[in-house]
């Protein structure tokens, strides 16, 4: 979680200094969800993420130096500089793609679930999406398909309350999106996404159910992004009050872990020091790597 936070803080810092060529969407504040969910998964379980996916890649074990190189558009990046922040992949750890299209991930997860079931593998697929995506038709199609075919899919809905600037309250008619699961005939649960212990517990239940062959689960994680939707969108002001942002920061996931004594202050300091060193090395690695040669634009179009 610390690495996930520091990675995104570093990315914002680099963006602010004009050293990052494409857009970024940070998950600062939301880390307990990706890291908690991924903590339950095996290396060969699959994960699909949204544009706000860096934390999931850290959580599932993608190398942060290759991630940073991808953000900086370098040939040593996860995808040779072709994906930028929004289309990371790291198949070695089952990370089959971030996605720049809101709502595109769930149908792809259904297909991965179909293949797992067809080949009778002991794997699951987790697909992250947001409250904004919950209004996309493709998400509804995917949930119905996964449920009717009892596929090993976990729908991980990060409800951070806002689809860019639009509050969920204005565009979603239910308070908890987890209730929609009933309409597809699968379990749904609303989980405190700031509490990593709760995230782990809910995910364990869903993963067990998926591995048993009983089908998908919708997990709605209540969470909050501390910063704007993307760079250029301020932390608070146009659509969120300072008080609201601060009220979520008061229940910060990292702080909660310390308060509960899950790690000591000393351990936390060690973890942070290690993470800072890794991020510093990642930036050094990325910045010393070359950009792809222009003619590489013509490679990897056809498989």
């Amino acid at each position: 979680m610390v690495t996930a936070r520091l990675f995104d803080q570093a990315a914002e810092d680099l963006f602010g200094k004009g050293r990052l060529p494409s857009s970024i969407h940070t998950c600062i504040g939301e880390e307990a969800v990706p890291v908690g969910v991924c903590g339950v998964l095996k290396d060969d379980d699959y994960v699909l993420t949204t544009h706000r996916g860096h934390g999931w890649f850290v959580g599932k074990g993608a190398p942060v130096d290759r991630m940073m190189a991808e953000l900086l558009g370098r040939s040593t990046g996860l995808c040779k500089g072709k994906s930028g922040s929004m289309h990371f992949v790291w198949p070695e750890k089952g990370l089959l793609g971030s996605n720049g299209i809101v709502g595109a991930g769930p149908p792809i997860a259904v297909g991965i679930g179909m293949a797992i079931k067809y080949r009778k593998k002991d794997q699951v697929v987790v697909v992250q999406f947001g409250d904004g995506a919950s209004s996309e038709g493709s998400v509804h199609e995917a949930m119905n398909m996964a449920a009717v075919w009892k596929l090993p899919v976990i729908f991980a809905l990060e409800n951070n309350g806002y689809a860019i600037s639009v509050s969920s309250r204005c565009v979603i008619s239910v308070e908890h999106l987890a209730v929609r699961a009933a309409g597809y005939g699968m379990p749904g649960e609303t989980v405190d996404g700031m509490d990593v212990v709760a995230v782990v517990a809910a995910t364990e239940k869903a993963v067990k159910r998926a591995r048993r062959g009983d089908g998908p689960t919708l997990l709605e994680f209540d969470t909050y992004r501390y910063h704007g939707h993307s760079r250029g969108d301020p932390m608070h002001g146009p659509y969120r009050t300072k008080e609201e942002v601060e009220s979520w920061m008061a229940k910060d996931a990292l702080k909660l872990i310390l308060e509960r004594g899950l790690v000591t202050a000393e351990e936390a300091a060690d973890i942070e020091q290690g993470a800072r060193a890794a991020i510093a090395l990642a930036i050094e690695y990325a910045e010393s790597s070359p950009e792809p040669a222009p003619e590489e634009a013509l490679e990897d179009i056809w498989a």
């Binding site: 792809i108 297909g111 179909m114 293949a115 119905n144 990897d300």
Partner: protein, 326 residues
């Protein structure tokens, strides 16, 4: 070489490929019973419900799930019941399937095939939402291959190639052609992508045709031979992506006069691209302006008079060739 229909040829490709590769699964709406045109009928009997099955009526998720299944090692072949419904799958085709390989820096691939029946039927009239030919939209997308078979033999050979291809393929089938018959090679008959086929040799002019217009172009060429003494070459592009520019240009250089025939609306259609290639790379050899014989720029009405007015026939192709000799 057995004679069979376009539908039977497609089904033969399915059966041969599915027997040899258990990573191939076939699904879509009404696939089990083979509605609406019967192409997949019977596959479930040989291959079972795990490999040939009905999906919910969810076009976006049908193609989206095919992308996911393909990314992890299956070779899904999915059906969209009418090509007009491809509008509901655009994100999965354009932003997902066609981009997976590139976005992942070559680390992932999506070997899926999306089949759909294109164009008008002729014997009944589907109207504005069941008759269109939208192939040109898809040849515009790098990373997506587009096959447009005009004969049973090409249908079998191109589908077998499509299924084995590691890139996503949109396989355009033609309602007008489903019942047409032709000789089809048995067994391992593979038609390469990006290789146009000269369906009739000629030296005086060329008709470049796609899919259902090929047969009409051949009939037009026969008439022009008898009535005008013209020796007209007919070139069938066979795949729109990759596009066989070399054959297109070589045939233009041989004949010096070109008509392009397609069933799509004229504006922004396949013919416009073919004409632009010839204008850019072979205009020096042309003795007359390129003529496009295409559908009119209007929706396709649901009755005979309106549909017939839309769809170019043999006579319009003949008129086009005659105009070349002004």
């Amino acid at each position: 070489m057995p004679e069979m229909s376009y539908i039977e040829a497609i089904r033969e490709a399915f059966v041969e490929e599915m027997r040899g590769d258990d990573s191939i699964i076939v699904y879509g709406e009404d696939v089990r019973l083979g509605y609406a045109f019967g192409v997949t009928r019977g596959l479930v009997d040989e291959f079972g419900p795990e490999r040939s099955f009905d999906s919910p009526m969810s076009e976006a998720a049908i193609v989206g799930s095919a992308v996911g299944a393909a990314m992890v090692g299956l070779r899904p072949v999915v059906e969209i019941q009418f090509s007009d419904f491809l509008t509901l799958t655009m994100d999965a085709l354009v932003n997902q399937a066609a981009k997976v390989h590139y976005m992942s820096g070559g680390r992932l691939k999506a070997p899926l095939v999306v089949r759909a029946p294109f164009g008008t039927v002729g014997v009944f009239h589907g109207g504005p939402q069941h008759s269109q030919s939208l192939e040109s939209w898809f040849m515009h997308v790098p990373g997506l291959k587009v096959a447009t078979p005009s004969t049973p033999a090409d249908a079998k050979g191109l589908l077998k190639t499509a299924i084995r291809d590691d890139s996503p393929v949109l396989f355009c089938e033609y309602k007008r052609l489903y019942g047409t018959k032709g000789f089809v090679p048995e067994g391992e008959h593979l038609v390469p992508f990006g290789k146009a086929d000269i369906k009739r040799q000629g030296t005086h002019a060329m008709i470049v045709a796609t899919a259902p217009m090929v047969a009409k172009a051949l009939a037009a060429a026969e008439t022009l031979s008898k009535e005008d003494g013209l020796d007209v070459l007919v070139l069938d592009m066979r795949t729109l992506s990759p596009l066989d520019k070399e054959s297109l240009i070589a045939c233009a250089r041989k004949t010096n006069r070109v008509v392009i025939a397609e069933e799509d609306c004229k504006t922004g259609g396949v013919g416009g691209e073919l004409a632009a290639i010839l204008a850019e790379e072979a205009i020096d050899c042309l003795d007359a302006p390129i003529i496009r014989v295409a559908g009119i720029d209007a929706p396709i009405g649901a009755t005979r008079s309106l549909e017939d007015f839309f769809v170019p026939d043999e006579k319009r192709i003949i008129d086009g060739v005659r105009r070349l000799f002004g």
